[in-house]
Symmetry: C2
Subunit: 344 residues, 2 copies
């Protein structure tokens, strides 16, 4: 740990200046960023606000999650919520609590990841709070975005006969987590082993990437706009497909059927699930942290949906009385459970 800079050497104000000076502003709507009592934002459209808190030991494990990736993820999970409203993220505030275990270089790495995410998504860092913590690392990010009033997509607009669509594939982030946790147990249990056995990760790089470097699907929102499709309801999949289907159905007062055979599952996900004796469909339904978009569209948009890249039609909306169901490969209809990804 030599040559590292204790945080106390800089003090709060200098630390904030040091960490945030290299975030050039990208949005004309950012009138004032870091450095006053508030950030000031120009809002010609409606303003979207979302917030997420990540705690060390609960949401991330620094034994396998590099700080740069953690910073990246902490930002994009918020962008994902803005995209899920069919909006565009524009600003974030970043509050961090850090114990004395961390030094300035650690925080630089974390902010590198934040900058990386902000650059990819055209977002400005406009404020935050930097405080001491007694135990570990706390990150709380609020993201501000915008969308024209008539383009905002809520969870509540799904109607019977609407098509249910999902981007990307499901369960990969969950299997990435299972893999990392399994290998970490090996590291902890084998004497004199302090490194991961990299051979266990070969051919499974995609799963690690999905767990460690979450993507927010800006591209899907852009494709939908280009194709002139306005979803009737949308949500991002942070707690697993089942849980998000329940949110849409509850708020839209509808039921739904999704088809087991239509669930997009990557080959690496399927192979590792089999190896670990996990039911891959359960992983796809209940695994968290995919950050894909789940949305419903009027059936008249069917032709427009087909050419979209990486978008899959997995089912349809039913009347509320029909419930929330999975149609299995063998034709059975199984009621889904809203297991979610229990945080509390």
């Amino acid at each position: 740990m030599q040559d590292k800079t204790p945080i106390s050497k800089l003090g709060e104000f200098k630390l904030i200046e040091h960490l945030t000076h290299d975030f050039p502003q990208k949005n004309a709507s950012t009138i004032k960023g870091v450095g006053d009592d508030c950030a000031v934002i120009d809002s010609p459209e409606q303003t979207l606000v979302t917030t997420d808190m990540l705690l060390e030991g609960i949401h991330f494990n620094l034994e396998y999650c590099p700080l740069k990736y953690l910073g990246y993820k902490a930002a994009v999970v918020n962008f994902s919520d803005i995209y899920a409203m069919n909006g565009k993220p524009a600003q974030i505030t970043v509050s961090i609590g850090v114990s004395s275990r961390f030094n300035v270089e650690d925080l630089e790495e974390l902010y590198q990841g934040l900058r990386w995410a902000c650059e990819e998504h055209g977002v400005d860092l406009v404020g935050g709070d930097t405080v001491a913590s007694l135990n570990g690392l706390v990150i709380s990010i609020t993201c501000i975005g915008s969308a024209p009033k008539d383009k905002i997509v809520y969870r509540s607009g799904a109607k019977p006969t609407d098509l249910i669509c999902v981007s990307g594939n499901l369960g990969a982030a969950y299997m990435g987590l299972q893999l990392l946790q399994r290998e970490l147990e090996v590291v902890h249990s084998v004497p004199n082993q302090s490194q991961f056995d990299q051979s266990q990760f070969e051919g499974r790089e995609y799963l690690l990437q999905r767990q460690l470097k979450a993507q927010a699907r800006k591209d899907i929102v852009e494709q939908l706009a280009k194709a002139d499709i306005l979803p009737t309801a949308m949500i991002d999949i942070s707690d697993g497909l089942s849980s998000e289907l329940f949110h849409i159905c509850k708020q839209s007062k509808v039921g739904c059927t999704v088809y087991e055979g239509k669930l997009p599952i990557d080959e690496q996900t399927a192979r590792l699930a089999e190896e670990m004796n996990l039911n891959v469909v359960m992983c796809a339904l209940n695994g968290g942290e995919d950050y894909e978009l789940l949305f419903t569209c009027n059936i008249n948009d069917y032709e427009k949906l087909l050419p979209l890249d990486d978008v899959y039609i997995i089912g349809h909306i039913d009347k509320e009385s029909e419930g929330i169901n999975l149609a299995s490969h063998d034709g059975e209809t199984i009621p889904l459970q809203a297991q979610g990804w229990k945080n509390v």
Copy 2:
């Protein structure tokens, strides 16, 4: 602890619903509150955003700070930042991390305090995040407010000859903290004593109130508007007068002189400082958490300032080259130090 409800009994979604259902919306600008991926806010004016994070053991001690007051304070310290821009707070998001030491009734108490603050200031709770923590309580609040573009007051507008004004009085919250910490040490050091010696608090209720129930000075912002005074610069005093003067002077590229004899100090503050052998002027200059407003006004506003209630003129802005100074009782000029209220 009998009859208390473990948080796990409700689960995340039901807990959020339980805690937030009793927050009626007050602002027409709140289009969508809790219950979607984002809150949606209508913004005809410019949007102000501020955020604060409070960690148990660093920012608050539940041995003397009741959860209801903590909730109240966590909200109003954010409102104070919005008022410091001459804005009006309208929405908050509340993220909390809670360890298993806390139960549902504890969180209800915390949210009672949040509701109390929101009612007093006309603010809507529009979202947040509720997560488990391994250690203690974490509260991260983001507040959204607004102001017309030409009424926003930054830290950067002070000009030489401007008057420096402060609301309320200084150092009381700091002395309240000293008192609570002293009495807590007694409780910890005396065998078989588990209660505070209430007689120590008699005649010092104001200090406790200033420490435990911070006020955000909505009334000052309203008075300024009524008197048709637009401050040239403004900041709220969270880290102590000295530190905030440095912020205004640095960002406005000016110097200043404040007069020792003009610093508003309450009698209880002065008496306890003397008893504890503390220099009361140092307490007024460097004690944190007053949440009063510090602002500068054009000297032509002098006549308009005089009738304002609880506003004190404490000095004037100088050229940058003259530095940041305290004019003492005996006519000496002492350069001020930006001690601040070190969090990191």
